[in-house]
């Protein structure tokens, strides 16, 4: 079983104020290898509760153009699994923010599942999201992850049946990642997300009862986030964050612009 002192569990158990939990996705090594740690620490200072650190893959088939781009940049900069673990270790010198590694299974298999879980846990990683490992294929790493106290977060999508949502809720640990729209990752117009999402949210509320619920895909502003996560424990932003980095990097003061965006996502525009 997952040890109770896991930072993700603590986050959801101890979260008391009325604001939603905010999780940010950042591709490790984007926009450069040096900035990742500083960005994570700055995200935390600006209201981020949880970080999903992306393990870049050359063929991210569930991702839209934004995360394809950030993944390519990170790979070109020479990101490796060991460097990602170093980044997490560095963050841990300064912060207890929960960190989930998120990425495709192939680099994990290549690294070796056992070795990967050992090093992830030792570096201070709190959980894993592997989008191309559905429940059916979880056997490939679930025991190793559990043995190292690493919860695996599963996803539910708008076309996931009620029965399957309940099954995923049983197996998911940490929280359930609710994908608000069918499609790849990427910022979308607010209306596009809101219209289709309500019925899905209702189904999630009914069927996901054991785990906290985080909603993601397409969220690009505080207003989107508030509207979509009303009945959820929190929300996840990825592509819109990376788009913001891309818009300002490497001009002077780019990090401040990024942190201001992060702050506004959580608290609204000042």
């Amino acid at each position: 079983m997952i040890q109770t002192e896991n930072r993700i569990n603590n986050l959801f158990e101890q979260h008391s104020d009325s604001s939603k939990i905010m999780s940010l996705f950042l591709t490790a090594g984007y926009p450069d290898l040096e900035s990742t740690v500083e960005l994570i620490l700055g995200f935390e200072e600006n209201g981020t509760d949880l970080v999903e650190l992306g393990m870049p893959f050359s063929d991210p088939l569930a991702d839209g153009p934004t995360i394809q781009y950030s993944s390519n940049v990170a790979i070109e900069q020479g990101i490796t699994m060991d460097k990602i673990f170093d980044m997490v270790r560095e963050v841990r010198k300064h912060s207890e923010i929960p960190i989930i590694l998120m990425g495709y299974i192939n680099p994990v298999l290549r690294y070796g599942v056992t070795r990967f879980c050992e090093r992830a846990a030792a570096s201070g990683v709190d959980g894993l999201i592997i989008p191309d490992i559905p429940l059916e294929e979880s056997g490939i790493m679930v025991d190793e992850a559990r043995a190292h106290g690493l919860p695996i977060v599963y996803l539910v999508a708008p076309n996931t049946s009620d029965e399957r949502m309940r099954r995923i809720d049983t197996h998911s640990e940490g929280f359930v990642y609710c994908v608000s729209v069918t499609g790849v990752t990427g910022a979308r117009e607010g209306d596009e997300v809101a219209q289709s999402v309500q019925r899905f949210i209702e189904r999630v509320k009914t069927n996901v009862t054991r785990n906290p619920k985080m909603v993601g895909f397409g969220i690009k502003s505080h207003e989107d986030a508030q509207r979509i996560s009303r009945d959820m424990d929190g929300f996840i932003v990825g592509s819109a964050l990376i788009d913001t980095i891309r818009a300002h990097y490497p001009e002077e003061g780019w990090k401040d612009e990024v942190f201001a965006f992060v702050h506004s996502l959580k608290y609204g525009k000042l």
């Binding site: 088939l61 192939n106 290549r110 490992i133």
Partner: protein
């Protein structure tokens, strides 16, 4: 020795350690729906008859089994037969699968068809099937492949397909496949993804194999008629592996039939310009299934290279991975240069200009034939014709 029983994949989609469904959650319900529809259709006589009628009246099946007398004399060993998939409508075996899948799409009420293509042969086959059925067709093709295979792009457009240029990654087949999957994930409700080879998540490898097994079924029957017995050797090229598995599958339980799959070594299996996945690759996950693939030490997919665009893929169908590991099939690499020799050999000896893919299998005769004897029989799958490759062929002659 007891006859070997072969009934893979398992219901989870595994061939030994290979296969599976490594896809995002959104695709799970879609794959389940597809599998159920496929199983029902395949067991429905009316569906099978419609499929076989189209293969007969539209594709031109059964394709001939041609005795290659001059090629046989050239080696002076086993008698060589050619299974003439090059005579299929559109010039290659790809159409067998495209017809099967489009019939299934129709049955499932999916009106929007998408496909990926590398060399353009599967794209042309799919565009052809879509024209025949009057449905919308979108083909994803790497920008670089579009440049290399202009003629096929024009053919697809003439057939009414929309060819979407893929600018991401290496701008070749693997990226076109990524983009097709992204489209599918986005349009799950109304879209059917016609995968062109025995790759991808379960049930695709099984489904594509079964739509291609007609090659082996006919071969068995035709050889029985002329020789009264089974072949001793089967020989086919493998990229993703659909023509090879189509030929091999009906013979898998016949232990005396030796099978050889020939993959593209590019400049050499010991160079970084290769597509010899089974020879030098490692197990990993690409495009929804666990199989052998070409990747670096961080698990990033490497670019494949082959003179043949149809073999230029860093993965391989999971069933071939299993057949290699279980030693049922022997896989061997053939270089670009050897493949060019294969083109010349078949053209000069038999008056058949083979596709560059097929030429890899032809070239392997140099290694295989000396080990055969005069009383043995060999069938080589002539998977496609070479017209599409004339540009590349004349540059390399």
């Amino acid at each position: 020795m007891a006859a070997m029983r072969y009934n893979l994949p398992t219901k989870e989609g595994y061939f030994g350690n290979f296969g599976g469904k490594f896809v995002p959650e959104i695709l799970i319900p879609v794959l389940e729906e597809l599998e159920e529809a496929y199983n029902r259709a395949w067991n429905d006589e009316a569906f099978r008859n419609t499929y076989l009628d189209l293969l007969q009246d539209y594709v031109g099946r059964p394709t001939k089994l041609t005795y290659a007398n001059r090629l046989t004399d050239y080696y002076g060993r086993a008698r060589i037969y050619l299974k003439r998939e090059d005579l299929c409508h559109t010039g290659a075996h790809k159409i067998n699968n495209a017809i099967g899948q489009i019939l299934l799409a129709q049955r499932m009420g999916k009106e929007r068809i998408i496909a990926e293509t590398g060399a353009g042969q599967h794209g042309v086959a799919t565009a052809t099937a879509c024209a025949k059925f009057g449905v919308d067709c979108i083909v994803y093709m790497g920008a670089e492949d579009m440049e290399r295979q202009k003629l096929n792009v024009e053919r697809m457009r003439l057939l009414g397909a929309e060819v979407r240029s893929v600018e991401s990654g290496s701008k070749t087949l693997k990226d076109a496949t990524n983009e097709a999957i992204r489209d599918w994930v986005t349009n799950v409700e109304d879209t059917f993804y016609i995968i062109g080879s025995a790759v991808g998540p379960h049930p695709y490898p099984k489904m594509v194999r079964n739509f291609q097994r007609i090659i082996g079924d006919e071969t068995r029957k035709q050889l029985e008629e002329v020789e009264g017995r089974l072949p001793d050797y089967l020989l086919a090229c493998v990229g993703g592996g659909s023509n090879a598995i189509g030929l091999f599958y009906p013979f898998i339980e016949d232990e005396k039939v030796q099978m050889y799959g020939v993959e593209a070594a590019g400049l050499g299996a010991d160079t970084d310009q290769t597509a010899a996945t089974l020879t030098i690759g490692d197990p990993g996950v690409l495009h929804g299934s666990l199989s052998y693939l070409l990747h670096d030490k961080e698990g990033q997919i490497q670019l494949a290279h082959s003179i043949s665009a149809g073999l230029d893929y860093p993965g391989i169908g999971p069933e071939h991975a299993y057949l290699q590991d279980s030693s049922r099939v022997i896989y061997a690499p053939i270089t670009d240069e050897q493949a060019m020799e294969g083109v010349k050999l078949l053209s000069e000896q038999e008056g058949i200009i083979p596709a560059l893919e097929t030429a890899h299998a032809v070239a392997y005769l140099e290694e295989l034939m000396p080990r055969t004897t005069e009383d043995e029989l060999l069938v080589l799958n002539c998977s496609g014709r070479g017209d599409k490759d004339m540009g590349t062929i004349s540059k390399n002659l």
